[in-house]
């Protein structure tokens, strides 16, 4: 094919009471142009389609001819054997084919979607509970058969979940401490209480923000990674392979991840709180002229040790939730790569949501038992 090719065209010839459409040029996808539309606009009764003058025909041209012949009852003439064969093939392929899913009315569809979403939410909750149970059983099995404990896998997860996260969590906590102190100082200065900035920074970081922000960061870094790793392993049938060899995926994959998250979260949370306090202290020093030594002394006076305990009690629970929703969502991947993405998103959203809900419960609970 080159620039010399003539585009497809046809002309109408009436002779002796019969109407013939005479086609010329190249009846192929690239050169068919507006022929399909013009054919639809032909109103006369056509008896014959004369194709002896065409240069080339492909399946799209053949389809257009076949469709017209089928709808108008016209006879096709003048094709060489190869082209006739092509037309026959296309004709044979003319069968009713479903193109798109059936449509339902918008109202029914919305109702259906609401129902489906509700069922999915309930099922996820039930599934997560079931998964929690399965994880506990796996832990029990590992405790009963300590040789099945995978120390290497756990240590490797320690590194991925904990050590590699030190940089980003440190930076994040430092900035949060700085911002809390700066904003607190501005507000408290209106009442002349800027020294209370120290109380604000110390208490909020140890009690709430240190662990909470760490949990969000770990959910984003590790929860998503768990879901994507396990989801991909499901797709490539690695998990099925494990089962057939007699390795329990719960013990080999879930236990090390949950354990790593449960152990690493308190350490990271404590580290985050310390760095946030350092950030706050730096700002107090620069902006409020409170020397570090005084800052530390005040922190020791105003932050009760129970604040630290609260943070350290919450952290492993958050870690378990993050790891379990990551692993659970990963295990739910069934069929294709798109699901790995959507399940990873669900894992992070679910983990952060559950962490915040539980944090609210913890806040009420600890206040109730008098740790305020």
């Amino acid at each position: 094919m080159n620039a010399m090719v003539a585009p497809a065209d046809f002309s109408q010839i009436d002779e002796g009471g019969a109407t013939t459409l005479r086609f010329t040029g190249c009846l192929s996808l690239a050169y068919i142009g507006d022929v399909p539309q013009r054919l639809e606009a032909v109103e006369a009764r056509v008896d014959r389609l004369d194709l002896s003058g065409i240069d080339h025909i492909d399946t799209i041209g053949a389809w257009v001819i076949h469709r017209f012949a089928r709808d108008s009852g016209a006879k096709v003439e003048g094709l060489d054997p190869d082209a006739q064969h092509l037309l026959d093939q296309v004709e044979a392929a003319d069968q009713p084919v479903r193109m798109r899913p059936d449509r339902t009315p918008a109202f029914t569809r919305v109702l259906g979607e609401i129902g489906e979403a509700t069922i999915v939410a309930l099922k996820t909750l039930a599934g997560l509970l079931g998964f929690f149970g399965a994880t506990l059983i796996a832990f029990a099995n590992v405790i009963r058969h300590p040789h099945r404990f995978r120390l290497n896998a756990v240590v490797q997860r320690f590194e991925v979940v904990g050590v590699s996260a030190l940089g980003i969590i440190g930076l994040m906590s430092f900035l949060i401490g700085l911002v809390i102190a700066q904003q607190g100082a501005v507000q408290l200065a209106q009442f002349g209480f800027e020294t209370f900035t120290i109380n604000l920074v110390g208490r909020i970081t140890f009690r709430e923000l240190g662990v909470l922000m760490t949990a969000i960061m770990v959910a984003g870094r590790s929860g998503s990674a768990f879901a994507a790793q396990i989801g991909t392993m499901k797709l490539t049938e690695e998990i099925d392979a494990m089962r057939t060899i007699g390795v329990s995926p719960m013990e080999a994959l879930v236990v090390p991840r949950v354990l790593a998250a449960v152990i690493m979260m308190p350490l990271l949370g404590f580290y985050a709180s310390l760095i946030a306090v350092i950030g706050g202290g730096l700002l107090c020093w620069i902006q409020l002229d409170i020397p570090p030594i005084t800052f530390i002394q005040r922190i020791r006076e105003v932050v009760p040790i129970t604040d630290l305990y609260i943070g350290l009690i919450k952290a492993p629970v958050f870690g378990a939730i993050i790891a379990m929703s990551g692993c659970y969502q990963g295990m739910q991947v069934e069929s294709d790569a798109e699901q790995v993405g959507s399940r990873t998103t669900s894992a992070v959203v679910q983990a952060i949501f559950l962490v915040i809900v539980l944090d609210a419960f913890f806040a009420v609970f600890f206040t109730f038992i008098g740790w305020d």
Binding site: H85, R100, P101
Partner: protein
């Protein structure tokens, strides 16, 4: 372009990944209208050769022309005219997972010919779906709902969407059952006859080679060591070729061809 002229011409191709040289001084001609089978042991760079020809892999050296045009080091926009004229079936089908089968087939049509109206697009997709032997209810299905064989057929329907002159098939029968593989061979042959295709077929399947290939190119020692009909190749005394065609599997394939011919 007349029959007998090379539609793909590869000269002095060199490909390497780090230290590992895959191709060196590789030459290959593919003639218009033929079905050429490319065989070679694992790791001899059959897929790399295909990727070089279709421009997914930039070779270290050498020249490649397709339809008489140079494809090496070209931007995607520069080779649009060539891209319209070939279709490629990747090993796993490589269907777009967020689109239905019908939409997958329509993607190249929409991309290259935005002027086509939806009704015609649907009709084209419909007869392509039927032509490649998919069941009529496959149109609205997503790739995840298809079996391996159906994915390949859907991939073939997409590769044929633009009525290409040149078709690349990367191990089309791998992973299919023998009946499905034979049906796929027949389908390839009948489409090739109907549409006058040139087919570049990478395969490990000896039955496919016997059934549909006009010529076979053997890749070994980083180059194409021989090209010819199977009989011509059998006359050579290269150890790998002899091992390949005269090994237990090769003999079985030859025997079945002989049986077929005896039956008439």
């Amino acid at each position: 372009m007349k029959r007998g002229e090379p539609i793909i011409r590869v000269r002095g191709l060199k490909n390497s990944f780090g230290e590992q040289v895959v191709h060196e001084d590789l030459d290959l001609d593919v003639m218009k209208g033929e079905v050429i089978g490319v065989v070679g042991g694992s790791g001899t760079g059959k897929s790399v050769l295909m990727r070089s020809i279709i421009g997914l892999q930039t070779p270290d050296a050498g020249e490649i022309t397709v339809f008489g045009e140079d494809t090496v080091d070209k931007e995607e926009t520069e080779t649009i005219d060539i891209r319209k004229r070939w279709g490629i079936l990747f090993q796993g089908g490589a269907l777009f997972s967020t689109l239905t089968v019908a939409e997958n087939v329509q993607v190249p049509l929409r991309e290259f010919y935005p002027g086509l109206n939806q009704a015609l697009l649907d009709e084209i997709a419909a007869y392509k779906v039927v032509m490649t032997g998919l069941p009529p209810d496959a149109g609205p299905k997503y790739p995840a709902e298809l079996s391996g064989g159906m994915k390949k057929r859907a991939g073939l329907a997409r590769a044929l969407a633009l009525d290409p002159e040149l078709l690349f098939l990367d191990e089309p029968t791998a992973g299919l059952d023998p009946i499905g593989a034979a049906a796929f061979d027949e389908l390839t042959l009948s489409l090739q006859k109907t549409l006058g295709l040139t087919v570049f077929l990478i395969t490990h399947d000896l039955d496919s080679l016997y059934a549909i290939c006009d010529r076979v190119a053997v890749l070994a020692d980083r180059k194409v060591i021989a090209v010819g009909t199977i009989d011509e190749l059998l006359a050579l005394d290269h150890p790998w070729i002899q091992e390949y065609f005269n090994g237990p599997r090769g003999r079985a394939a030859t025997a079945s061809v002989t049986r077929e011919q005896a039956k008439g």
